[in-house]
């Protein structure tokens, strides 16, 4: 499965002229309004998408979006009132005396902002427990996914009903729709932050700690998660695909992944093992059991190569094998450009076929 939303763009930036100075004639005015409309359209368009907190697919993200719009509308109303009063005051013929001015300052400058800020603060902190639900005892019964933030990829380990590791994957999180899932977040190296904007708020991933985050997807779909804490040269590529699946399809997928057989293409696997890839990478059902790099079982169905850097095509996989740090600066995988081109292409085809 290739997800072009990870690397493509649904919403092209609009190149418009900047209007500086006075609008002198009607043609200029028309262009000005057209540019304004295009800007508004591009702003509205940017509200949607697989990584937009304003296009929620879960209850926590919905609360965040409502909070955002409440603050925007509240801020816009206050700004309009202030500018309106400013215009009114500048047009008034007679001046205010000192007593009237003091009263205006007291009511409009002290009492009104104090009440408005107090109300907005109360609303925001009242929402917080809803945005971070499920701490404590309730978590013990939730489906658990262990996520480790590595430099610069995500190790994702699914637990079975007994609480032991069922299988591992990387840079892709699959969750069943309508079920709350507990993410246990750890890091072996530096601080990262795990964030799926369409499902909820972010949570820091801190070395030496296990942070918990619960999320629930309400709409099936493919979304995008990111690392939201600068963690090194390839921080910006540390994105991952989130697939919210219907519960039946999710169960089928977990069963298929738990019994995944990566040995179907014997020739490709032989080259993979011969060139030492298995020292760092694991593939279920084969001798490859490395744990330094991402587990590559089911790699062919992932949304991207090099985490969020390239679309998952055979050519891009080959490109990544030749020189990973050209695509993902700071990646720990060495370059393999010394391998014969036919071997690189064969390994790329093997990896693409792991579905």
């Amino acid at each position: 499965m290739t997800d072009d939303r990870l690397t493509g763009s649904e919403c092209w930036p609009i190149r418009s002229r900047l209007f500086i100075g006075r609008i002198t004639d009607r043609a200029d005015a028309r262009s000005f309004y057209r540019a304004g409309l295009m800007l508004a359209a591009s702003l509205l368009c940017s509200c949607s998408g697989p990584q937009s907190a304003l296009d929620p697919a879960g209850p926590e993200a919905e609360d965040v979006a409502i909070l955002f719009f409440t603050m925007v509308v509240g801020g816009a109303l206050i700004w309009c009132s202030v500018v309106g009063i400013l215009f009114y005051a500048s047009r008034k013929k007679h001046a205010y005396d000192a007593g009237q001015a003091s009263r205006i300052i007291l009511w409009c400058g002290v009492v009104f902002p104090t009440i408005v800020l107090g109300a907005l603060l109360s609303y925001a902190v009242w929402l917080m427990p809803n945005i971070r639900p499920g701490f404590g005892e309730a978590n013990a019964r939730l489906r658990t996914i262990d996520v480790a933030g590595e430099q610069f990829w995500w190790r994702v380990r699914y637990q079975n009903a007994e609480g032991s590791a069922a299988f591992e994957t990387a840079n892709e999180v699959r969750v069943p729709v309508g079920e709350r899932v507990l993410f246990k977040l750890t890091s072996p190296d530096v601080i990262h932050s795990f964030w799926i904007p369409v499902l909820g708020g972010k949570m820091d991933v801190i070395p030496g700690r296990e942070n918990h985050l619960t999320l629930m997807a309400e709409k099936p779909g493919t979304y995008r998660g990111v690392c939201a804490e600068f963690c090194g040269p390839s921080h910006a590529f540390m994105a991952f695909t989130v697939v919210a699946m219907e519960p039946g399809a999710f169960e089928d997928w977990t069963k298929a992944r738990a019994s995944f057989d990566g040995a179907r293409d014997a020739e490709g696997l032989a080259l993979f093992l011969k060139h030492g890839c298995s020292a760092c990478h694991a593939i279920s059902g084969t001798e490859a059991r490395g744990t330094i790099g991402p587990d590559l079982s089911g790699f062919g169905e992932r949304g991207s190569v090099g985490v969020g850097a390239l679309v998952n095509t055979q050519e891009d996989i080959a490109r990544f094998i030749r020189n990973p740090s050209e695509i993902k600066p700071g990646a720990r995988m060495p370059h393999f450009s010394m391998l014969p081109e036919t071997d690189i292409q064969r390994i790329a085809a093997y990896l693409k076929g792991l579905q």
Binding site: V110, V125, P129, F135, H212
Partner: protein, 127 residues
Amino acid sequence: MKSVIPREVETLWTLFTAPVVWAVHFLVCYVGFAVYCAKALSLHLSFDAVRIGLGVFTLLALAMIVLSAYLAWRQWGYGTGDPPHDAPTRQDRKHFQGFATLLLSGLSFIAVLYMAIPMIFIAECQR
């Protein structure tokens, strides 16, 4: 009979009283919850007990700020003169300080209230 309220003393410390109460309240709330969350298992205290305790402390802090505001109001001459009190006289200096203290007390009162709002809604320790 001796008055409960202190005699009028002209010192800069009266100016600082309310912000100091605000700072102490801020620290006690943050440190109080942090210590509780770190030691909750051995303290045998419920979260609501800490919440109520800090709520009572908030009321005490607000009372101290109101007292500071009253003293400042008295120093300002109960608002008999209008600001800016910028004449080079002892009386104006006293009124200016009283007025500034009153405004600072108002700011500190609001700040303590805002600090207390999250304590009403905070749900539990995150581990």
